[in-house]
């Protein structure tokens, strides 16, 4: 009960102040921020990005099954995985949070929370509030993020794979795609997530950062709302809901 109340509170907090979009009885949100909020104009600086989103039905029934989630953020050249240890995905399967950390701590790139709903009885869905760890991974030579979720009550452990692609054109530098349905199966439905990504690490004697950003404003500008991220929720069989968010970019010289 306490877990349910906590999850409900997390969900309502997630909705407040976030951009919302709805289609065909589904309401989704996305919120985000970047730390630090003041960035150099010319060269990229290490950053941490926090993104949170939620999904709910506007007609009372459980939301439809999410088949794919796509998250775009950052600027071209903003992602660095050079020298960062890679965690093999198999080491995270069925692992508790402690086991996941013991096996892959060196590849840790983020953390957060996730709320999933198991609508076994649609009138009283089972809510699972899980802690999330994100690890640097690799799939077919491309960078990936393994999002490991673990909850004790009800017992839940799964790995949501996000495949990363660097974008050369457009407003964003990185796009992460996760085949949610293929990874989670029929029952768990994503209701809410909050994740912070970013990591400072040393490789070849050089201090590096997993995520880097700058605030490319003209000299006379100090602050402007620019695109920070975009999420695309693809539900099966429909709809697809896309939410771009803009946040203030503050430039320092």
């Amino acid at each position: 009960m306490a877990a349910t109340l906590l999850s409900g509170a997390a969900l309502s907090v997630g909705l407040a102040g976030a951009e919302q979009s709805g289609r065909d009885g589904v309401e989704a949100t996305l919120d985000g921020s970047i730390t630090p909020d003041r960035l150099p104009r010319r060269h990229a600086a290490p950053v941490f990005i926090t993104l949170s989103g939620s999904i709910q039905s506007s007609v009372g029934s459980p939301p439809p099954r999410l088949s794919r989630i796509e998250l775009a953020f950052g600027a071209p050249g903003g992602l660095s995985t050079k020298g960062l240890p890679v965690c093999p995905r198999r080491l995270l399967r069925n692992a508790t949070q402690r086991q996941a950390l013991d096996r892959c701590r060196s590849a840790l790139i983020g953390h957060g929370t996730i709320l999933t709903e198991v609508p076994l009885a649609p009138s009283r869905p089972l809510l699972a509030h899980a802690a999330v760890l994100a690890f640097n991974g690799e799939a077919r030579g491309h960078p990936a993020v393994w999002v490991h979720a673990y909850a004790t009550a009800p017992p839940v452990s799964f790995v949501l794979p996000f495949y990363l692609h660097r974008l050369r054109a457009g407003g964003f530098g990185v796009v992460m795609r996760a085949p949610v349905y293929r990874a989670l199966g029929r029952w768990p439905r994503l209701r809410f997530f909050r994740v912070t990504l970013g990591r400072r690490y040393r490789a070849d004697g050089v201090l590096r950062s997993y995520l880097n950003a700058r605030c490319p404003l003209p000299p006379r500008f100090h602050s402007l709302s620019l695109p920070l991220a975009r999420i695309r929720y693809e539900f099966a069989p429909s709809p697809t809901v896309s939410i771009p968010i803009l946040r203030a970019c503050r430039a320092v010289d």
Partner: protein
């Protein structure tokens, strides 16, 4: 007696017809029908806005502020025409309060867009930074009022502007 019966027979269907017509008018269209009608009106406006503001971001970055002002002013004209066109569409009775809030928010969004264009025209950068943030904020607020309607073209999409 026979004449009275005929009158009643004629009057009953006429009254029933009037009643059904008036109740239909009171209820207004269903939400789905309303959304479809509005989307049809918003679509050309939304596409024209996207064409009108093409390159604004690059103009602002290169500090071609007057050129950006012309584009944003054009977007404002398209936006206010669209709002005027959708405001006259009969609204579903059950959503009247929500839609009144939405149209109020759209009015604030129009003002914010006008102020943004004005700040760019005056090349007043601090004011532009402020007005642009207001415009984004008002747009998001307007969206959140009607999120359950599932609009696409009538939704505020900042990506159309930047």
């Amino acid at each position: 007696m026979r004449r009275t019966c005929v009158r009643i027979l004629i009057a009953v269907p006429v009254v029933a017809l009037l009643l059904s017509a008036s109740s239909g008018a009171a209820q207004g269209p269903a939400r789905q029908e309303y959304v479809a009608r509005l989307e049809k009106i918003c679509r050309p406006g939304s596409e024209a806005t996207q064409r009108a503001v093409g390159g604004t971001r690059a103009d602002v970055r290169a500090e071609r502020l007057r050129l950006a002002a012309t584009k944003v002013a054009k977007a404002k004209t398209i936006f206010s025409h669209t709002v005027a066109a959708i405001a006259v569409v009969p609204r579903p009775d059950a959503d009247r309060t929500t839609l009144t809030r939405w149209f109020t928010a759209l009015g604030r969004e129009t003002v914010a867009l006008e102020r943004t264009a004005d700040a760019l025209r005056r090349e007043d950068i601090p004011s532009f930074q402020h007005r642009w943030a207001d415009f984004i904020h008002e747009g998001n607020k307007a969206n959140n009022v009607v999120v359950s309607f599932g609009f696409n073209y009538c939704d505020f999409k900042p990506s159309r502007f930047v």
